[in-house]
Every structure is written in structure tokens, then in C-alpha cells.
Amino acid sequence: MSTTAIVLPARTNTLGILLTEIRFEFLRALRTRAFSLSVIGFPVMFYTLFGLVMNHDAVSHGIIIGKYMLGGYAVFGLVGASLFGIGVGLANELSAGWLELKRASPMPPLAYLLAKCVSAMAFGVLIVSILCLLGVLFDHVPLTFAEYGKMIALTVVGAIPFACMGLVLALLVPANSAPGIANMIYLPMSFLSGLWIPIFMLPKALRSIAPLLPTYHLWQLMLSIFNYQDTSASTLGHWFGLAVFTVVMLAVASFAFRRREQAS
């Protein structure tokens, strides 16, 4: 046996590994323009067009439309970052065999998933901050620091259910169809939850679908920061809705993961 066997393995620096993974995952995602431009660009463009241009300085029934829409597009942005960052990113690395190489290395597997999750959260924070800035600068949206702080906190927490959804997507969908399928879920779900146009403007038949969607509950929580939420339902109920969705996604992900393991 070689002499290296005598050397006691020093403690591996798990926190250091995690921080490195996060840093480079964020950097990688930022440099991947197909991802970063669309995931930041779409919410910014939509909010500018529908919030700032079409409803400039508008107030209706005591609700500032620019602020109301800020809530919707903030959710739209953070969901996109999670769903595409994790769903599409992971699907790609799974199919390319990269994840396999990572798993054969001494990297703690959780560091990999956490890095992707934290990177998605960071993108969410970036997107929400840009939207807030646009609203305040160009639409005179009155936003207090406390409200902004709460939005950021909700962005970080709200990224978790959709990160889990991204995980399910990555495990179930082949890499080449992952972006398409992610869009097929993301766009209708955003529309039906009222993130684009206020839900009361949707046809009656579609309105009943919203409470079944996780984006709707996150949106209502976001609006409750401004006290703009639909008062017919409780905040606790929205948290419960998101929690149930997260648990279901994790269960499906672990089932899909186990099925994958058995096949390998």
C-alpha cells in the first residue's frame, strides 16, 4: 500500500465546498445568457409594458395598479428563476453525465442541490430588486424599505416550492424537451394565477382554477405585503397551500429519483 494511506484524512470542509458550489453555480447561470437574459428579461419587459407603460400612475379603488402589478411580476420572475434554473439546468447536467461525475467525487450531494437552489434564490432577489427599482423610479410606486425587505424574504422562501418543482421536472423530463415543457407549465400557470392580468379580469370559468395553483398562493402572499390581497381567504391558507405543494413535489421527486437509481 502506498504511503499516502498512512496520512489521516483531514476533515473535509463541507461549508467551504458548499460556498464554492454556490458561487460558481451563480456565476455559471449568469454567464449562460440563454438563461440569464430570458429569466431576468421577461419579467422586466412584461412589467415595463403592462405595469409602467399601460397603467402609468393609475389608481383604481384605492389600489395603485403599478404596485399591484409589481407583486404579480415579482412572483412571475422568481418562479421563472427557480423553474428554469433548477429544472432545465439540472436536466441538462443529468443527461450530459456531469451529475454522475459529481456524484463519484467526494462532494456532498446536498451541496450540489443547495447550490442550485441558492443560485435560483439569488436570481429571484435580483429580478425582484430590478422590478422594485423600475416601479419606484418610473411609476412613482410608493414602496417602503420594510415592504421591500418583506418582498425579498418572501422571494427567498417562495423559491423553495418551485425549486422542488424544478427538481421534479429535471428528473422526469428529458433534457432536450425540458425548456419547452417548463414553458408549457410556467406560462399558463402564471396567466391562470393572475400574475399577468388581475384575476378578476379573467373569464369566470378560469377564475376557479387559480386557488389550485401554487403561484396563486405565493402571489396572494406577495400582495398581502401591500395589503392588496383577496380578503376572502386567509394568509395562513396560502402558506398551507404552498407547504402542501412543496411536500407533494418532494415526494414525487424522491419517487422519480429512486426509480432512476433502480434503473442505473
Partner: protein
């Protein structure tokens, strides 16, 4: 095809306890959930300082065997030990380096960044400069992975496998896409690793690579070890398999001097058959190919009988021939 004499021989060496094995697969059966049996009671042993080449046609079970040793897959039955422990243990992984066929590594990270990440996994990694030099990455450290050529990508993956200065290296088709010079450089690297007491298991499609590099070749087909031995031993076994008449069950004596003679001769096959040592004759156009276990005697006789004989070529059977005959259905 039954396991050969060489295999039992090496097992004896192992039980005699000459050296403690680095990794073992013992009576491994791997059945996938779709019912396909990838490995069928396969056993193999890796010893320190060895370069072992795992050969076999596509679907033979090579990568399944390697994945088991990397702890990426679990066996249906049998035991897998690496450094005497479960390959999935972090302690085991810290001493193991892996190079896999990766379709795409994250393309928007620089070579230097990829290496930084992997070095970070190990408490005492190989020094950065040494790693860059060993993998031949000087000058491309600042490039994005996505900008690299196929050979450069392959060298980055080699560097990642070396990052932890491991005692055991798994290299899956390490020189695919490399030009001749880079291939020779990587071979030299692999040899120097083995010289430093590291164990290297490589799978390859280049038989030339196995021949040039490996101390021991293990040929796998249909999930079983068909034969095992030094490149020379495997070649002679292959020749035996191709010419069962050449030996009387004693592998490696008569067949060790087996040669392939090619020439243009007027002698008909019936005459050639009577010449001592000849085991097979094949006529293609003007060229006759003869396999002989006593090439000197055969040639002397042939030259005496046919003064017009020309275009003479005498070759040792190549590993390729051995491989083809060993893995033939």
C-alpha cells in the same frame, strides 16, 4: 467460454496474499430493473501500482463494472470493496479519482474554475500548478469549457480525476478524441502514476492503448470475465481461441511462438497443410496467410519448396485478433 488458466493463476496469487487488493468485485451479479443481466457472477481484483485495462465489446458490462466500483450503482448480489470499504463512503471517494465519458461539463465555467471546484473537495489536493502540467492544460486555463476542443475537454476531465491526488483512478475511455501527441503524453502520465504506487483501471476501445499501457488486461463479454493476463498472455490465448488445434489444452506453450505468415506463394494449401507447425491457411487472391506455431521451421520448408516465394511478412498476432476471437459468439 470458460474462464482460462491465467485467471485461476492470478486468483492464487491473490489468496496467497502477496499484496492486499485495492479494490475487489466478488461474485457480482447485476440485473437491471428491465431484466437485463449486465454482470453475471463477475469477480475481479485490482492490486496496488497496477494499470489494468478492462476490454470488451459494447454492452459487455465494462461500464457497469466500473460504475459499481465508483459507487454509482449497486449490485443485485455479490460484494464490492474499495480500500476495504464501501465505495460510496466519503473516505473511499477521497482516495478515488474518476474520469467518465461526460457529454458536456458546464460550459460557462473556465478551466481554472472547474479545477478549483474539484480541488476543493479534497483535504490535500494535488498542487494546482502540478495538476495543470500533468494534464497539459498550460495556456488554456482561462478558457471556458465550452470553447475547448474535444481533446482539450478530455484533458480537463483527466485533470479533475487527478485533482485529489488519488490512490485509485478510474479512467473511462481516457484518450478518446486526443491527437497522437496528447495521447502519448497522457499515457506517460498514467505510467508515472502507476510508478508512484497508484492503481489505474481504464476501459478503452483502443486495443493499442491497452497493449501499450496495461500491466494486466481483463477481457469481459456478456457480463463475465473471459480471460485475464498480461497483454502477451491475452494475445496468445486469443490465438489459441482462434486456432483450437494449435494447442492440446496447454495454453501459452506452443501458442506463445505463434506467428502469422503472409506471402505470395505457388504452393497449394494441400502442400502447406503438410508443413510442420501450420495451423491454418487462408488464400486471398495472390496472397496466402498462414498461421504457424513453429514459424522458423515452417518458413524454412516453404522457402525450400518454393523458390519464387515473395512479398513475405511475418507478424505476431495482434491484440485486436485476440480480442476478436475471444469475444466471438
Amino acid at each position: 467460454m470458460p474462464p482460462t488458466a491465467v485467471e485461476t493463476q492470478s486468483n492464487q496469487t491473490f489468496t496467497a496474499g502477496a499484496t492486499a487488493p485495492i479494490a475487489t468485485l466478488e461474485h457480482i451479479t447485476k440485473r437491471y430493473s428491465n431484466g437485463v443481466v449486465a454482470l453475471d457472477d463477475l469477480s475481479l481484483t485490482l492490486r496496488p501500482g497496477e494499470i489494468i485495462a478492462l476490454l470488451g465489446p459494447n454492452g459487455a458490462g465494462k461500464s457497469t463494472a466500473v460504475k459499481l466500483m465508483m459507487g454509482l450503482s449497486s449490485a443485485t448480489s455479490g460484494s464490492v470493496r474499495v480500500f476495504g470499504a464501501d465505495p460510496r463512503n466519503t473516505a473511499t471517494r477521497l482516495r478515488t479519482g474518476v474520469m467518465l465519458q461526460v457529454g458536456r461539463a458546464p460550459e460557462m465555467l473556465r478551466v481554472r474554475e472547474h479545477i478549483t471546484i474539484f480541488r476543493g473537495y479534497y483535504p490535500s489536493p494535488m498542487p494546482y500548478a502540478q495538476l495543470i502540467q500533468a494534464a497539459g492544460l498550460e495556456g488554456i486555463e482561462e478558457r471556458f469549457f465550452g470553447q475547448l476542443s474535444g481533446g482539450q475537454k478530455q484533458r480537463v476531465l483527466f485533470a479533475l480525476a487527478l485533482a485529489g491526488d488519488p490512490d485509485l483512478l478510474f479512467l473511462d475511455e481516457p484518450t478518446v478524441g486526443l491527437d497522437i501527441e496528447s495521447r502519448r503524453t497522457m499515457w506517460a502520465q498514467i505510467r508515472s502514476l502507476a510508478a508512484r504506487g497508484k492503481t489505474v483501471l481504464l476501459t478503452t476501445h483502443y486495443l493499442e492503448e491497452a497493449d501499450a499501457l496495461a500491466h494486466r488486461i481483463i477481457v469481459i463479454n456478456k457480463g463475465r470475465v473471459i480471460c485475464e493476463g498480461t497483454p502477451a498472455e491475452v494475445k496468445s490465448l486469443g490465438a489459441t481461441a482462434a486456432n483450437p488445434t494449435a494447442t492440446n489444452g496447454v495454453a501459452g506453450t506452443a501458442s506463445r511462438s505463434l506467428k502469422i505468415i503472409r506471402c505470395a506463394t505457388v504452393l497449394p494449401p494441400s502442400t502447406l497443410n503438410g508443413i510442420p507447425g501450420v495451423t491454418s491457411i487462408e488464400v486471398a487472391g495472390t496472397l496466402t496467410t498462414i498461421t504457424s506455431t513453429q514459424p522458423e521451421a515452417t518458413l524454412r520448408e516453404m522457402l525450400a519448396l518454393d523458390p519464387t516465394l515473395h512479398s513475405l511478412q511475418v507478424n505476431s498476432p495482434a491484440l485486436e485478433d485476440a480480442f476478436l476471437s475471444l469475444t466471438r459468439d
